[in-house]
């Protein structure tokens, strides 16, 4: 691209600048264009999960539904509530989309197809993610609305809490690949990390679902309690931006799950044909996305105290212990510092898999015991209140 511009007669600096601008536009619009299709897919899937048809009017199978929706939301009246903090109120939705779009900079689409292959890729993702929390806070505070403020409080408590297990889970692929760059992590996955560290993948999956604020962790906008949480006062395109931001957040996290644990663009012939790598990445990401949709459509919303207790008393200790075990084993198994092929990766993967299975059995046993004790406690309380409630009928 730069060469072509140089041939036409641009100066060197200008050619580089234009080439980079075009790159930025391509990377940024990939996510946004995908959103148009993805929202249709999500609504269709949600309909199927709930035994409905989903959108089916416009275009074949309703595939063009997003376009009239976008037009409609653009034409809606833009309302700024009285007493709102105007500037903050207007910037918040932009920041919400912005923080998600920034993550696409480091996503490796295929061999050599990366916006910018930062050496601090993983740290960058975490840093960019924290901007989204500010958007939630700004929206909640500036709306001059009690429900919005409550939603923002809940949101930030949730986002900050679940950031910890997520970062601890992200450390494991970094540890296994010896690289913080996303391309490096993909390139080192001769065997998908899902097979080596399934527990880490699960922790990342759960905490990223909490990070994007979707059911069962959608306490930020619990409609039965908080109207719509921090976006209660937003209308028109500003609401649309939050909507797009939330959707894109979910899709970005499924892409990241595919990169960190499912091998990213890796697949047969992906090294030679970059386009094939892009297809592999999207297929893997959609796999993760489908699992997220499945959970979202199936589970009821957790309570705020359950959400916090689950994180601080279960997820954080588990991810810390998991990180320690993985790091220890990785040092113990010989030959882990120079993995260059499928064969090299086989032994460490098997060792880690066995260790993960053992850990999973231990955790499940502990959870089972805890569940049983909890049930006995509830039963004892019920009996203490009313002796007529005997064991077995107290559900």
């Amino acid at each position: 691209m730069t060469d072509v511009l140089l041939d036409i007669g641009f100066s060197h600096d200008l050619a580089v600048l234009i080439a980079k601008l075009v790159g930025v536009i391509i990377v940024a619009s990939f996510g946004l264009v995908w959103t148009l299709f993805g929202i249709w897919l999500e609504r269709k899937l949600a309909g199927r999960f709930q035994d409905r048809l989903g959108p089916n009017r416009i275009g074949p199978f309703g595939v063009l539904q997003s376009f009239p929706d976008a037009v409609k939301i653009l034409l809606k009246e833009d309302i700024i509530p009285t007493g709102a903090d105007k500037w903050v109120f207007n910037i918040a939705p932009v920041l919400s989309v912005f923080s998600v779009m920034l993550a696409w900079v480091v996503v490796p689409f295929a061999v050599g197809w990366t916006g910018s292959d930062l050496s601090i890729g993983v740290l960058y993702l975490v840093a960019v993610g924290s901007l989204g929390e500010i958007a939630v806070l700004m929206a909640g505070w500036s709306s001059n609305n009690k429900f919005a403020l409550l939603g923002a409080f809940r949101g930030v408590a949730q986002l900050i809490s679940y950031e910890i297990p997520m970062v601890l889970a992200l450390l494991v692929p970094v540890l296994l690949s010896g690289s913080m760059s996303l391309q490096g992590i993909v390139q080192q996955q001769h065997i998908m990390y899902l097979f080596a560290v399934p527990m880490t993948a699960l922790i990342f999956f759960i905490s990223s679902m909490a990070e994007m604020g979707r059911a069962p962790f959608d306490l930020l906008e619990a409609e039965s309690e908080l109207v719509a949480g921090y976006m209660t006062e937003y209308s028109g395109m500003k609401f649309g931006m939050f909507y797009v931001g939330e959707f894109l957040h979910a899709f970005t996290f499924s892409v990241l799950a595919a990169i960190f644990f499912l091998g990213g663009w890796k697949g047969p012939f992906a090294e030679d044909v970059p386009l094939l790598g892009l297809v592999y990445l999207i297929v893997k990401a959609m796999f993760a996305y489908f699992a997220m949709m499945w959970i979202r459509m199936t589970f009821p919303r957790v309570r705020i105290d359950q959400m916090l207790v689950f994180n601080w008393k279960f997820l954080v200790p588990l991810s810390l212990g998991n990180l320690l075990v993985v790091a220890f084993l990785w040092k113990l198994v010989p030959g882990t510092d120079a993995i260059a092929s499928f064969g090299d990766a086989l032994l460490p993967t098997l060792v880690l898999l066995v260790a993960n299975l053992l850990m999973a059995v231990g955790v499940l046993a502990a959870l089972r015991g805890e569940g049983q004790r909890e049930r006995e406690r509830v039963q004892a309380r019920l009996v203490a209140v009313d002796p007529a409630v005997t064991a077995g009928s107290g559900d």
Binding site: D13, D85, V88, L118, S119, I120, L123, Y124, V126, A127, V128, G129, S130, L131, E133, I134, L137, M138, W141, L149, A152, F153, V156, I160, E163, M180, V378, R381, L382, A384, V385, D386, A388, V389
Partner: protein, 201 residues
């Protein structure tokens, strides 16, 4: 003027302007947001200095954690959000403090600059590549933190200190004397839940 100089100027304006607005705005919430802007500018300067790791940490720690905690505190105390009497007669004190701080900075930085051999302060604005920076500072930084010959001791001491602070904070927010555990409030159970099916609906 090179591209770097232009970007440097932009980030400097963001940093300094944000900092100025932090201390002049009357709205505490806005002040916290301007603080974030200023810190963001500092992160940009770190990127310009080819220290991307520090830039990332700056955003994660200062914007993602500390500034959000500040905002949380502000939001939980709405009566102090509007500071009425902010700019009283304190400007003399502010001026003195600023001059003293500048003198302190200059006295610290000048010997450092001499040691590094920087004699022309405006060199960075005219040269394309102001200084040869090692390409992979990240690996070096990581290794120096766990190298027994270098910084492993301070690193571990800092970790232990932070851990102690963490435990201390957790202890401080506990109730003074928990005493015997209060019996958890019993769930409300209708006394005649079993016979309710005979109701008239």
């Amino acid at each position: 003027m090179t591209w770097q100089a232009l970007v440097f100027l932009i980030f400097s304006v963001i940093t300094l302007g944000g900092g100025l607005l932090v201390v002049t705005t009357r709205n505490l919430f806005h002040a916290a947001l301007y603080l974030m802007l200023s810190l963001f500018g500092v992160a940009g300067l770190f990127v310009l200095l080819t220290a991307p790791f520090l830039a990332g940490v700056e955003v994660v720690v200062y914007i993602g954690a500390i500034a959000i905690l500040i905002i949380f505190a502000i939001m939980l105390t709405p009566q102090v959000t509007q500071v009425i009497n902010l700019r009283g007669t304190q400007w003399i004190a502010a001026l003195v403090a600023a001059v003293l701080f500048f003198l302190m900075l200059a006295s610290v930085l000048t010997p450092v600059a001499e040691e590094l051999g920087v004699d022309d302060w405006s060199a960075g604005f005219t040269q394309d590549d102001p200084a040869g920076v090692p390409a992979n500072t990240l690996t070096d930084l990581g290794e120096s933190l766990v190298d027994t010959d270098r910084y492993v001791l301070p690193f571990e001491v800092a970790s232990v200190l932070l851990m102690a602070a963490l435990i201390g904070a957790a202890l401080m927010v506990r109730p003074e004397d928990p005493g015997p555990r209060r019996p958890e409030s019993a769930p409300v159970v209708e006394p005649d839940a079993g016979q309710a099916t005979t109701g008239g609906d």
